[in-house]
């Protein structure tokens, strides 16, 4: 089994897995970082969103070989104490219903606001369109992204 060095949430760890193993399952099963969620396995729902060198990507569709040497941030590493403005906005607005998709939503929103600090409503909708919320808490997701943008500005 090949060995890979992965930089996750600022720490470098070595894992021995097959080269086609999606980073999602390495995070969840090998590193015990279960905040990143499995939803569809084909990059369609966004529940597994992480940051790769600051960009929001679908961890279910990226293999370990594709991410070696890059910097990975998961929901657990977004902040030490849930103090990231997006996390705080999610709490302030009380977004979740079941809560399962929310880590992915937060990772998409935080990468987006990093690049567009002052988005329009339409830009927020487009940025968040790739993340499914089956409970359809979309109204609050939208409001929380707006709130975070205001608090960050």
């Amino acid at each position: 089994m090949p060995s890979y060095q992965l930089k996750v949430n600022g720490e470098t760890q070595t894992v021995e897995v097959g080269e086609d193993t999606p980073i999602l399952w390495i995070l969840r099963d090998h590193m015990d970082l279960v905040g990143t969620k499995f939803g569809c396995g084909i990059g369609q729902c966004g529940a597994c969103t992480i940051h790769l060198d600051g960009n929001a990507v679908r961890s279910c569709s990226l293999t370990v070989a594709q991410v070696e040497g890059k910097s990975i941030t998961t929901i657990e590493g977004l902040s030490a104490d849930a103090s990231h403005p997006v996390q705080k906005a999610w709490k302030e607005v009380d977004v979740p219903q079941c809560g399962y998709c929310q880590a992915g939503q937060i990772m998409t929103a935080s990468a987006f606001l990093e690049k567009n600090a002052n988005p329009t409503s339409e830009e927020i909708k487009s940025a968040m369109h790739g993340n499914i919320c089956r409970c359809a808490a979309y109204t609050r997701i939208h409001k929380a992204v707006e709130t975070a943008a205001n608090n960050m500005g």
Binding site: C45, E76, A82, Q87, C98, N131, I132, Y138
Partner: protein
Amino acid sequence: MSTSSKLTFSRRGFIRTSSLASGGLLIGFNLFTACSPKAKPPVDISQLDFNDFNAFIKIADNGAVTIFSPNPEIGQGVKTSMPMLIAEELDVAWNNVYVQQGILDTKNYTRQVAGGSQSIRFGWEPLRQTGATARQMLVNAAAKKWGVDPSECTTHEGVITNAAGKKLGYGDVVKEAAQMEVPENVVLKNPEDFKIINTDVKNVDIDKIISGQSLFGMDYKKEGMVYAASLRPPAFGQKLESFDDAETRNMAGVLDVIKFGNKIAVLATDTWSAMKGKNALKAVWTEDTKLESTADHDKILTDLLNGNKVETLRKDGDIKMAFAAADKIVERTYHSPFLPHNCMEPMNFFADVTEEKIHLVGPIQTPERTAQNVAELLDRDVDQIHLEMTRMGGGFGRRLYGDFVLEAAEISHLAKKPVKLVFSREDDMMDGIYRPAIKYRIKAAIKDGQITAYHLKEAAINTNMYGLIPNFFPAGAIENYQVDVANYQSNITTGAWRAPYTNFLAFAEQSFFDELAETMEVDRVQMRLDLLQKVKGTTDDRIQYSPERMEEVIKVAVEKSGWGKKETGIYQGFAAYYCHNTHVAEVADVQVEDGVPVVKKVSCVVDCGIVVNPLGALNQIEGGIIDGIGHAMYGDFGFEEGKPIANNFDRYRLIRMREVPAIETHFIQNDLSPTGLGEPALPPAGAAIANAFKAATGNRLTQQPFVKNPDMLRVPEKEIIG
């Protein structure tokens, strides 16, 4: 038997107390005794521990309050709102309360269930009584200490004060309180004195959710656990003939391959290896029972609607005579597909079956029934089962069915290992317990400007509407009224899906009323109000809805939505519906963009009695409306030779952010007991938008999903030009 404890029985739902070994007071209440006549209290009080209750409070010597929430949490918010009811009457500050999910107690109790939007409705009285009883015991203990009458004492946020101004914290008297008689007939607060109920309280798990902590069944791990993925027949009606697992067994991480029934489980060291191993299995499937297709179902259901083999669920007057005497008859047939639930967290469960016990952990809406089924399957005593409920990544009815728990238990039993069974999205969508495909035919007679007959006919796969539905609106409002149902038994598994039956029936009926009003050339809203007048003062106790409450939500919706007063270019659609004991009216605003009607806003008025947690309630209403719009617009699912036509989100469309309208919700303020919230906003949404689309395009939609007929979702060419 310990002398420091006391066992008393008050009311049918007995309350018991016990002093804890660690100090403190435990008070428990069997919430649902009334549902379980077999429930018996344990005789030996010393054997009592907190597992004996399905709702209870623990107060420690230091005054810390823990409230155990009895019912499964699927996103409907009961893990927050049920403890709020206890805390209100206990009179403690919400931010000093720690909420913990209760575990399943299979010994005595039933209705530890999430489903039917009933948790708060059933919990309203007993949960508040539990809190009030505990509060009274604490007050009695303090009064005894002070040598005063309990009536001289007041409480505020966990502190008892007497007439002389002396104060004692709950923690100071908790030992004494545990030895007090359990008071009967405690007085509950008047709604105007509520301090926690009807205030915005955030989701109790919010911090864990936003920081990605382990919370869901999918996240659960235990030492020595292996992962399992199951290969099941790809089509309904197939069985396993033979299989070749040579490639799978050679794969890294794969530990074992186990055949059970018509399925094959691959056990591996991690989820990915289990899924990969499963995909490498080469199985041969043969036809066991008929392989059914959506085209077959369409014909079968249409034949049932045309035929006379029906069961009559309600019959008032004589519809036959009324139709014969009618000036005009309106008839319309409505079509719906099967629907998968698509919980974001795919089905999964942990099972550790050993000779001594069975340990089950995961997301399940029906823990008790499932534990019993596992006991039966493995021929074990249900007392050997310890079931822990995790937070659920959605339910929508899917997790009422414990098929995946049984599977996990069987695999663990055969493998003799602790096993975590995980469904892929494809497994989840292809091995569902679907919302059945249903067709409705509605026929009404009009005579002298009045609706004189109403005939509702249902043709469904496997099961028909439950018994209360025929007594929903317009039952009681039309003299000659009949509801007939018929079904076809299919080998495709079906079950409850958020707002069972009404999720589509509301669309059919509320679209039909729109059409009726058009035909009769009367105001759509006034027609409904006129019908409701006829139900007021009814002596028919089968009628489920309240005409007065329905009238109010309709009138407020008219006012709040600006119904009939919108500027040119905005088309409105109206729907009002009662289900899950809640009355809802919705108005959709649609605008035409590039010839296509787009939903811009939904105004919603809800009467669910007292709103326990407005912050959570609003989320449920908004989610329900968007979910209703999403499935009416896009939800398409069917079968080709027994095989589902979609298996993941690339081919199954769920509503997404850009398709979401603005939503404005208004709750009717009253002091009536709270009713369901998780489901009732969904059913009217499809009709509200379809009626608005009709206003915008002239096209009457009768088939879901609407995108299936794109031509119907366009304004006809000539109108754009003209």
